[in-house]
Amino acid sequence: MIADRIPYVTSDVIVVGGGLSGVVAALAASDKGAKVTLFRHGYGRTALGGGMFSFATNHDGSVKDALKSRIAAMAKNELLPYSQMKDPLKSLRQAYKLLAAKLPADFPRDIEEDAPQLLCLSEGGALLRGDMAVPQVRSGDLARFVGGDVKIAVIGFTELPFFRPQLLKEQWLMDMHAAGIEKAEIRVFTLPMLDDGRQTFFRMYSEAARILDAMNPLGPLAERIREEIKGFRPDLVLFPPMLGLARRDAVRDMSELIGPPCAELVGGHQAVAGLRFQQLLDEILKAADVRVVTNCSLTGSVWQGKKLFRLSGLPDGEEGNSFNDDGVIYVEAKSFVLATGRFIGGGLAEDGDGVFETICMLPVTYAGKRLRGLPAIKLVERDYAAKHVMFSCGIDVNEHMQPLNVRREAAFPNLFACGDIIGGYDLVLDGCADGLALASAYISGVNAAGGEK
């Protein structure tokens, strides 16, 4: 249920943030019987990402080297908050099961320790490994083809001139070689997506995705592609990351119409897979017993005694007039979960006087050191690809996922945090952010609802 205008909200649990961790925290709390309200404001890293998620770390090792060994490594990992968790694997699995039960059937129901990692090619030509992906991406799993000869047809469209499969081909081959896939043959086929002779360019993959959504039936396009690739007989047909936003069966339809399994590449700043995954999450929330508020951003907090008592916020846009007289919205609950992400999500911000947490003014740290008062210039390196404090910092938590205050005690007994806002690791370089989001969200959600009964 979506409630649009709520001047005053009370709930058992309030979750702030609607990305991967916020949704899982809300589901976990709701699963334990709590009345949950989720505040969501814009999109964060989940929606802007490539639609593929990795739970542990990292990008090395053979394909068969599956979750098991990585999770063993994870338990020893110094990375926060894994190092805080009593049993990270258990929390991760429970979180995933809870989510997967609501995801479409083409997601596996459980994390199997022995299952191979997903192997996908990115739009940039990198071979990426992940543990969970939206269906379109996932069916591109190269692992299934490893060992034999892989023949991959890559489809380029003249409407997407920046997608240069001819050039990327070399990079894909190089990366596959580095990953031990020796016998791959890639051939590129470029054709117009629209057959009307018009000169059109799409800057965003999402533009192409919307055209594809509206293209009904897909038959004529699929037929033209089939003609192109006929002589090559590929095992797999790869598309740019643009296979429909609304129409989730586009990839299945394509596969049926063309013949060999179809999939899309991962990533790119204009990709649609992340958005599609976010849409799935939104639908899950709609179906679950969680109230969702979308047109309000929470910006402040009030506490009473030791407890966090209420959050306050400002409504978005013109609609604000229909809120309270003073235009402020108040939100009260027994407990609160911060799932607001880092800078993209808005959980952290920088104001010229260092990094701060935006709602509860929790201390932001890196390696136990407080960062407030340190200018940004001190938190970055000269080397672009280095690990920067700026992109690894966040709030600290204890084993219950309660944020710590300056004395390094739980800031409030009824405040929990999960996902990217917890610091200690680099979202990109450490390659484990999604697993941390799931595990920390589960623990937060359960604790916010009153703990494991």
């Binding site: 739009e123 940039g124 808005g346 990094v355 210039i377 672009y384 990109v428």
Partner: protein, 554 residues
């Protein structure tokens, strides 16, 4: 071994200007630049073809020379010049005596300046009431005493250098970028040539030259030392902040807390806040920017434009002024007057000449003087024509609408191509006819089309994709290339038939070059943008990480 009449060292505005002038006078010229054309001081300048009103007190000569030459530059390269009207804001001082002195004093200065304005074609200065100032530029604070308007001209510095280098090439010169002069070849005390090293491939080559010209800006002392003599500079570091938008339509001249003159000024599609001026004796090729310098500039701007912090600093320009040595003066009073050192007379080293000091605005006349001396040495007499003949593309200015219609592109994009390439614009867009995908906008902030990138890679000595920053402003917009670097690099790779490894390294180099320009200024929402940029560039492309994987391969 190749032989030249003149080997010009340094591809800044002076080196390019000298190479052009000399080539036009019939000399056999080679121009070498260790990095990219215009990547030295010229890239870090304010880009004003101004008369240097601030030098009026210390050096009227500089002002007059600059005004005259500013007029010539407008004639030979009209397409890349834009007018920047300025408002000199008079603050509200408490005592009326003080106010009177400032107002009348300033008026007198501007009126004197107007005497020179006829040379550079500006509108005369005009007194403004506070209400008039605010009407022209509503972002200026309310409690001011008034203002004085004046006219200046801005220019795309790298394009000016490139046009000069191109014209040199058209007149038979050889232009080498990413090529460093590493040592001199001597015959007794006479310099007869040099050893050059290609900084991309590492290859070296020896060339003979009757005269080697040192036009290396702040590197002048280093090169002179290499030749065995001493030239002293008093280098001064200048920092500009670049904002993500055109904050004002007028340049706003203001006074910093320490009384120095500062400005907030529109430049192309961004604004500059500048500039600092401090002694600097470090490496001119690796200039650090301190947080104090950023704070100082923002504070000064804020005291006149209170909302300045609502805009975002997207990068920091840094450069060293190659100011001539004079001890005991304050930085601001140091003269910008140039000097040509004939090392044959001065140090007994025939075949070697150095030029120091100077300003962008008077590059042409300085080059003329420099080449006059070279001609004298070589015993030749052809007269200078650099102020008469237009630079490549400077003869006529085509219509943006017509160009847009012809190539099926956006008229604004067409106007930007014309701004950079003048009458050569149609040549630049030519590839669209055979490859319609080249009409695609790669960097939407400029906007830069794929066709222009391809043209530059083919014709303008682009050895690294980061050279495109200066050719066609890829990566110069609000997202600092987040979405365009990979695409531009792909075009570069296509044209140069690069393999995957080189392509990734090239993209890395581009990302690093841009990061270096902005990392000190990272703040506010810029941090969120940077987080996203890392996701896209390191996450999806895995550029830097992949170079590492690659290294592990057998």
């Amino acid at each position: 071994m190749k032989e030249f009449d003149l080997l010009v060292v340094g591809g800044g505005v002076n080196g390019c200007g000298i190479a052009r002038d000399a080539a036009k006078r019939g000399l056999k010229v080679m121009l070498v630049e260790k990095g990219d054309i215009s990547a030295g001081t010229t890239w870090g300048s304010s880009g004003m073809i101004h008369g240097g009103i601030r030098y009026l007190f210390s050096d009227v000569g500089v002002t007059k020379l600059a005004c005259i030459d500013s007029g010539y530059i407008q004639k030979i390269a009209p397409h890349m010049i834009f007018r920047i009207p300025f408002i000199f804001v008079l603050p509200n001082h408490t005592s009326w005596v003080h106010r009177f002195i400032i107002y009348e004093g300033a008026s007198a200065v501007f009126e004197t300046y107007d005497n020179f304005a006829k040379y550079k074609g500006g509108k005369p200065a005009c007194r403004l009431t506070p209400a008039e100032v605010r009407k022209l530029e509503p972002l200026i604070r309310e409690d001011i005493h008034g203002g004085i308007s004046m006219d200046e001209w801005g220019i795309d510095c790298p394009r000016l250098c490139l046009a000069n280098a191109k014209d040199a090439e058209l007149n038979g010169a050889e232009v080498r970028t990413h090529t460093r002069l590493v040592s001199f070849i001597k015959d007794g005390s006479r310099i007869v040539g040099a050893e050059l090293r290609n900084e991309v491939s590492g290859e070296t080559e020896e060339v003979k030259a009757r005269i080697v010209f040192n036009a290396t800006g702040p590197w002048v002392p280093q090169l002179a030392a290499l030749a065995g003599c001493e030239v002293k500079l008093r280098p001064a570091k200048g920092v500009h902040l670049v904002l993500d938008r055109r904050l004002t339509d007028y340049g706003v001249l203001c006074t910093a807390i320490d009384g120095r003159q500062m400005f907030v000024m529109p430049h192309e599609n961004v604004s500059y806040i500048g500039t600092t001026d401090d002694d600097y004796y470090g490496d001119p090729g690796d200039i650090p920017v301190l947080e104090d310098e950023i704070a100082y500039l923002l504070q000064a701007a804020e005291s006149y434009i209170p909302d300045v912090r609502k805009a975002r600093v997207i990068k920091v320009l840094r450069a060293v002024r190659p100011t001539l040595f004079e001890t005991g003066k304050y930085e601001d009073d140091l003269t910008r007057e140039h000097q040509i050192f004939d090392h044959e007379e001065r140090d007994g080293i025939p075949g070697f000449i150095t030029m120091g000091g100077g300003k962008l605005a008077s590059y042409r006349v300085m080059s003329e003087e420099a080449v006059d001396l070279v001609m004298l040495k070589l015993g030749k007499v052809n007269p200078c024509r650099s102020h008469l003949d237009p630079l490549p593309g400077g003869d006529t200015t085509p219509s943006a609408e017509a160009l847009a219609a012809e190539f099926g592109i956006d008229p604004y994009a067409a106007s930007r191509v014309i701004y950079r390439h003048g009458s050569w614009a149609a040549r630049v867009l030519e590839s669209i006819k055979t490859n319609p995908g080249d009409a695609y906008v790669v960097d939407r902030y400029e906007p830069t089309l794929a066709a222009e990138i391809r043209y530059c890679v083919r014709n303008e000595w682009v050895k690294r994709p980061s050279d495109l920053i200066r050719r066609c402003r890829v990566g110069e917009g609000a997202d600092q290339g987040m979405a365009s670097i990979q695409q531009a690099t792909q075009i570069f790779a296509e044209e140069n038939k690069l393999g995957p490894r080189e392509t990734i390294e090239a993209a890395d180099d581009f990302l690093q070059a841009k990061w270096f320009e902005r990392h000190e200024a990272l703040s506010g929402v810029g941090v969120a943008q940077e987080e996203l940029s890392r996701m896209i560039n390191l996450g999806c492309w895995r550029t830097a990480q992949r170079s590492r994987i690659e290294r592990r391969l057998p």
